[in-house]
């Protein structure tokens, strides 16, 4: 097995774990954590393909991963701000209880 396959399988496994968590957990914060894990798995794919690709000196996958980290950080800040705001209105972060859009 080539080393690239190992990295791709690891990324697929982390993506699946994050997806399972985002789909099954009730706490909104843990759903966000699952989304962060999925973004990280995608970053691992980008870096692995950059490392074993034909033109690593072009830095494309490297830069994509860097910008992806920045966008993920922005997403985490806004998402957690939304969770705090929802908690202030409804006094819960349980997603099974938050079933209406109207505050």
């Amino acid at each position: 097995m080539s080393p690239l396959s190992g990295y791709l399988l690891l990324a697929a496994l982390i993506f699946a774990i994050g997806l399972a968590g985002a789909l099954t957990r009730r706490n909104a914060i843990l759903v966000l954590i699952g989304i962060e894990l999925m973004l990280n798995a995608a970053n691992l794919n980008l870096i692995a393909f950059w490392r074993y690709g034909p033109h690593p000196e072009a830095l494309t996958g490297f830069m994509f991963a860097l910008f992806s980290i920045a966008v993920a950080a922005a997403e985490a800040a806004v998402g957690l701000g939304l969770v705090i705001s929802i908690y202030r209105h409804l006094h819960t972060t349980d997603l099974d209880e938050i079933s209406r859009m109207k505050g």
Partner: protein
């Protein structure tokens, strides 16, 4: 290769416990382990700058943000009703299906994937030059995005005094 497997086991164990543990604070700690494992994988892939950016942004900032959110929303008390949603079986099936498709695709194309190649030498100076020349437009857009996200997060989470009265 043995280092890769050790790191992979640590990362997967961290990710699994982040999604399975009942106490949300423990989940945040396990998440930090998973992020650190991924950062070490980046370092092993000769992407030093991304690896250290991962440590700074994820292990440093995002983990702290998650802990703040947990403490501000009092999620640290374990709920009595169970931590998994009512539709957990469907979610698990979807995740398993996604993983099997991805793993099948990777294993099918195993022979076509490139094998060992020379480690690319990327210095921070090269990364800076690339960011300031070829990738300057994405860099500026990310700067605007981060500013907008910061202002948006503050406004969303800000306490509205008028409504409180």
């Amino acid at each position: 290769m043995i280092v890769f497997w050790i790191l992979a086991v640590v990362t997967v164990a961290g990710a699994l416990s982040a999604m399975l543990l009942r106490n949300v604070v423990h989940c945040a700690l396990a998440l930090t382990v998973a992020f650190a494992g991924l950062a070490l994988e980046f370092l092993r892939l000769d992407a030093q700058f991304v690896g250290f950016a991962q440590i700074l942004v994820y292990v440093g900032a995002v983990a702290i943000l998650v802990v703040f959110a947990i403490l501000l929303t009092r999620s640290s008390e374990t709920p009595q009703t169970g931590v998994f949603s009512r539709t957990w079986l469907a979610g698990l099936v979807v995740a398993a299906a996604v993983f099997s498709v991805l793993a099948w695709a990777v294993l099918q194309s195993g022979a076509a994937l490139p094998h060992e190649s020379a480690a690319p030498q990327v210095t921070v100076a090269e990364v800076g030059n690339a960011l300031m020349s070829r990738y300057v437009l994405p860099l500026e857009i990310v700067a605007v995005l981060l500013t907008a996200a910061m202002i948006g997060a503050v406004i969303v989470a800000m306490h509205e005094k008028k409504e409180a009265k």
